[in-house]
Amino acid sequence: MMKHSQEDPALAIIERLIMEFRRRVRYQSLLGAMLVDFATFASLVTINVEAGKAILTSLIFALIYLVVTLYYNHKTRINRVNMVEHLNRNYAELEESLQLVLAKPESLLKEIQRQKVTDKLIQLEKSGELNRLLPKISTKRSISWSLSIIALIISFWLIMKLIQQSSFGEIDINEVNQSSDALVVLNFSRLTVSSPDYTGLSPITQSDLNVKVLEGAMIEWEVGTTKYIESLYWLGVDGKPQKMTYMENGRFGFQHEVKGSGFYRLAYFENKRLVYIGDIYTIQAIKDRAPKIKILTPKTTLTEIREKAPKDFNLKVLINDDFAISNTVIEVSVAKGSGEAVKFRDKVFKFSQAEDTEKGTLFTRKWKLAELEMEPGDEAYFHIKAWDNRTPESQLSKSSSLILRWLEENDEETLAEGIQIRFIPEFFRSQRQIIIETEQLIADRNDLESIEFEEKSHDLGYSQKDLKEKYGQFLGDEFGEGEGAMHGLADGYHGGEDVSQGEATAGLAQMEHSDEERHEEQHEEQDKASIAESHQAEHMHDSEYHLEDLSGASDIIAQYTHEHGSVEVAPLSKSDPKTWMKKAVHEMWQAEMHLLLSEPEKALPFEYKAYDYLKRARQAERIYVKRLGFEPPPVSEDRRLSGELDAILSYSLNQSAVIMSNNQEALLQKGFSALDSIPIDRPLFSEQRSNLQNLRELLLELSENRPVLINYAVILEKILAANQLQLENCSDCLARLKQKLWQIKALPVALPRNRYRTGIIPEQDFNEFKQFVESFDPEKNGNKQHD
């Protein structure tokens, strides 16, 4: 063929056309395959198919396309005969005679015709006319194929999804009843939380069955199960099953108003037996807090207006609330006169201006003293009340009192010491409350979100700042800094305080004991280390060298030296409360800083120190005076009890102590003891179960103010449900629960106990040993034989 084509130019042209034709067809197929490959890969990846699988599938599709297009495309089967036919049909000048070039002519006529068509063909070739017959490379088909494949894949995926979602509603009930061994699980959950209307918050939807909501919110459940069940029940803390509503879409619905933290479960009845579905889920109820009132102006509790000073009084207050303030009033009591003739007149005012700021609403009011109907020598007592917009019952906050005193000409300055003594106990409770809440925050670190943790830490920091400023005012420092006139005090701390307990918290008592231990002469090394630590705390603020020295060398130096560069570390007088309070303010600075930096662990030692110094200040300002007056002589035994009192009778009384049995500390201890028994896979016995139930109720009660405890109430519920301490799905639950109980528990009260010998040999053992030895003494045993 090659030889023949070389001799015959027409054949050469035909061959060229055939080759070009085939080449273009192949190229077209390859391009199409590439497009199909890409489209398939893209669509599979879009529907989250694994990349490896997507590549493999797309290659297969591309291969199929290539095979189909090359094998079944008639254009690839082109040869000389059908090319000649094709040329004859498209070019009339070839006079349907082109086939003569394929064979050797048999006659002269054919030869002449052959030559003629050859020339024509050559002309067509030269003019480029023949190239018009070649197929054009078009992407249309490839694109259409690709789009079809994309549509096919995505349609298939959507259909499969729809089939899965609607599959549960079509199960034959009879089939389910026959196979009741299959587990019923939740396959759909949606909670819609609607906060109370007064909050102005829009409803939110979530799928997580553990929920954190505002107290008073309404929760709507919508759940679906994998298998059909006739009824689904909702069980709260009380354990009473409440039937859920069967909805048209085959799911179950329920509504519940949140009144406090708790937990719930879902269950259904099978053969009159309650079968639980899923886990125990928590509802954490967050309380709407009462408004917080902060008095900005005046800065001191006591404001004295002298005769020649302007006769007006300005009040500026910052009030903020979780949602909104509904009402505010200023209650004023004006005291006229003195001694027994003092008269009080009460008035109520409103704020004249209210301005919304980032930190809350700023309320202001100005008075002229005449407006208050005050005269020189009179006093007025102000306090502010604010209500929030909570419904049905709003919450009231009341500020501390402000005193306005209009001095007469001859009045002296009021001494502050008298006020100091009256107000100090409240401050000690405030610092103590800060310590309690800091310890709680540290203990709950793992249970809180980081944002929530930081917010609480900042809140405590601001409280510490307020307290520091109030003490600073008392000391004559302006906002806790520098020197200034001595003014009165105001307690601005807003946190909830338990003032009924006078005893120290866990850390405080521990601090006392460890402080005293350090001064024990028997342990000198311990003293040195502890003195170094205490000096470290004292000098931390003073010495920048110490802060930069992280190797600890300065600790060693501080152990053996003592700085006197600052007034705060000058030799302290036991009888000077101001000095101790200055040191307390110094520590409060550090505590405030660390709390605002969300480092409560670092703040706690400074808080302890501040509390310690405040107690020393209180002790320092005590004055012990010998009792004066008539000191009767001791009563002699002759005269004692000599009166005739026949009505007095001897009697006997039998009592049982019930003081400890039901209080919180006892419940915690009993609950912990119930959790501490070995082995942990043994069924709970009745007393153990009872103690755990009581503990669960206690944790539920405590969770109202400390929502994180609800998680631990849930662990107890799981233990009670499993009837053993070991939980299958939670290997560390028991350990975590015991740790939390330890954190909650306050320092215990010591118990009276017998004496125990601490020698090497206990007395009982010693006696036994002595008898044993004596049994070998021939004198004592009459020469008895021993084995």
Binding site: A509, H519, Q619, L641, N654, S673, R753, N754, R755
Partner: protein, 649 residues
């Protein structure tokens, strides 16, 4: 350890492998070939002469071999046994010449790990599960070399050898001499003391010690230096079985590196079994608060309060009222502690006082609250009999000013610690303890060191006299913590001795480890059953009488897992006593365990008969001068022979 070639039992070529020895053989062969050459030279010469030349050549060859191969010869006599214990480091200097595979000494491994078995190719016969097995495997040991941590005192008792050597391992970092209060009552402080030992510490290094409570919170933090003794204490919050954690960290500029972390087990009991008798000549706040506190704690209390000359109120809390109202010996024997004011004691009849004192002699404790009746004795009126407390405590009377000032208190808590609450100003009686008497022990004293509560022994019991009058003020002001601590410290140092727990765990706490046996004993009769409880269930232990301890039965249990174990002693099905103990992991308290083994092993080496030598192998190198001498001599003779032979030819 090294590889080497052992030629017969007595010759070792330690520095060469097989190939190198072959190379030397080739050299040797070359020398022999040269002999062949000489043999042709020696043709016609007498056989003796030829053998002489051959011998000289052989000597030279051997000397060359010796100089190249440096052989060692076995020197030890008798059976040498190596016992390899934990932490033996063969890469250290001195041990790297021991060849456990080739040496003909016997090597035994005490509890080797799987890795050691694989890397050293230890056979089953070489593995010992206990040190006592060594004596069974090797009945007569001439020379025993112990490597590594060594053996405990008990383990050494099972081994005897003529010569004992001990090559200790490197000291590990840890806490040495740890001691802690293993059982405390609720409200008491538990104390831990120890000495820090860091193996790679520099003199300037400062370490941070943290005590972490069972909730994971750090409760005590202190800076320490290496080798420093320290003591920490903490008050557990709950009764039960708890684990504290002690952490030692190195203070670095950027990172805090935890070096040591050890667990400390503490058993906290929370039940008061005290039987208390309160005798009051008049109702008082002091004893009323004491009564309330003790009753709330579960103590059994009988309180007798005089309300008129012959009228009394008798109250029983947590117990039944006594049948008999007379205060005789039988009555007092049912109590652990009597708390009475001085006036009430002076109103007791002679027989009642005698019964009370007799019971104190038998162990009863008594705390007397001083009152004005003691002051009356000092007045001119001598109509009232002197109080017998004057004689016992040698009372005096301070100046009115001194006696009326309130005082700040300090007291020992009975566990080695001192307590001195900040706000502890308490009023006191104007009485003082005048003379220094060795029998008088101060329980409470003022900040000036003046004793305010003093006790003395009376037979087996104790009597304490308290000059304090205002301790109840702590309770009424809400400071129940210090109030309870004060009275607990007083009571537990004066009250009758309590009954010991019949269950005894003999091993020290930090020695109770996984994989070790724990010996448990009880003081009990035949009907007692000891149940051993752990997290997997419970088993009844088989008790057998202890050979050297009468009235005691013992059992042994293997501790298979880390954690708390509980023992329950039953008598006729009823639980009579309980005890818990903790099993530590094998790696816990390693430094202390190593230290104990070091001490025991070094003591044993010191006391062993025969000469102790420190040598690391049973082969010793042959002095190379011998080789040189042989080479030079033989070569010289050969040269001479050559010269003479050449001249002759």
């Amino acid at each position: 350890m090294i590889d080497g070639v052992l030629l017969s039992e007595y010759l070792l070529f330690p520095e060469f492998g097989g190939l190198q020895v072959i190379a030397v053989i080739i050299v040797f062969s070359s020398l022999l070939i040269s002999l062949t050459n000489t043999s042709s030279r020696l043709k016609g010469i007498s056989r003796k002469y030829r053998w002489l030349v051959f011998s000289l050549n052989l000597s030279v060859a051997l000397a060359l071999c010796g100089l190249i191969l440096k052989p060692e010869i076995k020197v030890s006599e008798g059976k040498k046994v190596y016992l390899i214990t934990a932490n033996t480091d063969f890469s250290s200097e001195g041990l790297n010449k021991i060849n456990t595979k080739l040496s003909r000494a016997s090597f035994y491994w005490l509890e080797p790990t799987t890795e050691m078995i694989e890397s050293y190719g230890i056979t089953g016969e070489q593995v010992l599960l206990s040190a006592a097995q060594l004596q069974i495997r090797e009945p007569s040991i001439g020379h025993l070399v112990v490597l590594g941590d060594g053996l405990t005192e008990n383990e050494w008792q099972a081994i005897s050898a003529e010569i004992i050597e001990f090559i200790p391992s490197s000291r590990v970092s840890g806490i040495l001499s740890p001691e802690w209060t293993q059982q405390v009552n609720i409200g008491e402080y538990f104390r831990f003391s120890g000495r820090l030992n860091i193996s790679d510490a520099k003199s300037s290094d400062v370490f941070e010690m943290q005590l972490i409570d069972p909730a994971g919170q750090m409760v005590v933090k202190r800076a320490l230096l290496n080798a420093e003794f320290f003591e920490v204490s903490h008050r557990p919050k709950l009764s039960g079985n708890h684990l504290y954690r002690l952490q030692i960290s190195r203070m670095n500029k950027t990172i805090k590196q935890v070096l040591i972390s050890e667990e400390i087990d503490v058993e906290v009991t929370g039940h008061s079994k005290l039987n208390l008798l309160l005798l009051q000549s008049a109702p008082s706040f002091e004893l009323k608060n004491l009564h309330n506190w003790a009753a709330a704690s579960g103590a059994k209390i009988l309180s007798k309060i005089q309300i008129s000359r012959d009228k009394y109120i008798t109250k029983a809390v947590n117990r039944e009222l006594p049948v008999s109202k007379s205060l005789d010996l039988e009555f007092f024997s049912s109590f652990d502690l009597v708390v009475a004011d001085a006036r009430m004691l002076s109103q007791l009849s002679e027989s009642e006082t005698e019964a009370l004192i007799n019971e104190v002699n038998k162990g009863l404790g008594m705390i007397v609250i001083a009152d004005n009746s003691l002051l009356v004795q000092n007045t001119a009126s001598a109509k009232i009999k002197p109080h017998w407390l004057h004689r016992h405590f040698q009372l005096g009377y301070p100046s009115p000013k001194e006696g009326s000032e309130p005082v700040q208190l300090s007291w020992h808590d009975g566990n080695g610690g001192l307590v001195s609450p900040r706000e502890s100003l308490v009023s006191r009686r104007a009485i003082k303890f005048e003379h220094q008497d060795r029998q008088l022990i101060s329980l409470v004293y003022s900040s000036k060191g003046e004793p305010l509560v003093v006790s003395r022994a009376q037979g087996k019991g104790k009597i304490a006299l308290s000059l304090l009058t205002g301790v109840a003020g702590w309770s009424t002001s809400g400071d129940k913590s210090n109030y309870s601590l004060f009275w607990q410290a007083m009571i537990k140092q004066v009250a009758r001795l309590g009954e010991m727990n019949p269950i005894i765990a003999l091993d020290q706490r930090h020695s109770s480890k996984v994989g070790k046996a724990q010996r448990l004993c009880i003081r009990g009769g035949d009907k007692h059953e000891l149940i051993f409880l752990n997290h997997g269930g419970g088993q009844k232990l088989k008790l057998s009488p202890a050979l050297s301890e009468p009235n005691r039965k013992c059992a042994q249990v293997w501790l298979t897992r880390e954690g708390w174990y509980q023992l329950s002693l039953k008598n006729n099905g009823l639980v009579e006593a309980k005890k818990a103990f903790y099993s530590y992991s094998k790696e816990a308290w390693h430094a202390q365990e190593q230290n104990e083994k070091f001490i025991a092993s070094l003591n044993r080496v010191k006391n062993s008969e025969g000469q102790s030598r420190i040598s690391v192998g049973d082969f010793t190198p042959i002095n190379l001068w011998w080789m040189w001498s042989l080479f030079i001599l033989s070569a010289s003779l050969l040269w001479l022979e050559r010269k003479l032979g050449h001249k002759e030819s």
